[in-house]
Symmetry: C2
Subunit: 189 residues, 2 copies
């Protein structure tokens, strides 16, 4: 028996990604989001949704660029802090001691200590309602060499990203491998 | 030391959601995606990206509605199968024995056995490149009563959704709770 919960954004899983941007003075800012996802394979694009009221929204509108830094479990406290306060009043990099690294490819900084980062140029922005979607073309993906698997790709079990549950607002880690995509379902054919 | 992997869609985590739609004859279809995410809080909206070549793309263009059904770990085989074959040649519900339930709110079916579902009306579509983004307004979220937590919200540890890793293409489960959002980061203030 299914229970109706109403017109709410309660789906799981949602990501925990930290959006890097510069303000007009060039001060690096970073903000945590869960509203986003990959939205195109060619060109490789990722979308993030921000409220107009946020400092990051103004920054990204101005510079038309952002980064995504993927926090691992060990950085949960900093990642949560990045979502708690505004860059208007706090230098979040300074406060946490994390390092803003200037991207050489786009006009935005990323979190040097986080294991995986994406550098994005804004190619579209769509106002949906309270949130505006920025579509960023992924110019590069960078990853700590220690986080690669045997085939040279990102190893999620090493990266240990966070998953956000809307509603209860918990962060969870990643569990065990359940199967290989485009393979495990062949048994059903 | 970070290694550059190029302009690729390798970020983690990404979701595993099954998109329900009807074709012109009213046959229910379902397709698994990882390219999507929540994109607005008010109105509550979720976006999914589909290639024009897919059967689901044509269905959703026609009916302007879709559902998202969240598979739990136990349904990994069916969820993967839904992404392996086209609804043009296979009735995926019939093949897996899962039940297409007609939504009373939108013109699309959902997977009755999956623990959590969203019913969505398309309010925007944006062609990005290979993929087109559909923005769906969430009309209702429904969940199996056994999947609720003590506060009446979705319990991710009961739902046990899948997480997809692009690149290596593995499905992972959800791990342990790492902390409460908007709380654990207050220690950094």
């Amino acid at each position: 028996m299914k229970k109706s919960l109403g017109a709410k954004t309660l789906i799981v899983p949602t990501p925990v990604w930290c959006v890097g941007s510069y303000d007009t003075k060039g001060t690096p800012n970073v903000m945590t989001i869960a509203w986003g996802g990959i939205c195109c394979s060619k060109p490789a694009c990722v979308t993030i949704s921000l409220r107009e009221a946020t400092y990051s929204y103004s920054n990204i509108m101005e510079r038309q660029a952002y980064t995504l830094s993927v926090p691992s479990e060990q950085f949960v406290q900093a990642a949560d802090f990045f979502g708690l306060v505004s860059g208007r009043r706090v230098d979040k990099f300074k406060e946490t001691g994390l390092t803003p690294v200037h991207s050489e490819l786009v006009d935005a900084p990323y979190v040097g200590e986080f294991p995986m980062i994406l550098e994005c140029k804004v190619i579209h922005q769509y106002k949906i309602g309270l949130h505006t979607q920025f579509v960023g073309e992924i110019v590069d993906t960078k990853i700590d060499e220690s986080m690669l698997d045997g085939d040279g790709g990102p190893d999620i079990e090493k990266i240990r990203p966070l998953v956000f549950s809307p509603g209860v607002q918990h962060y969870h880690g990643i569990g065990k491998c359940i199967g290989k995509a485009f393979k495990v379902g062949k048994k059903s054919e």
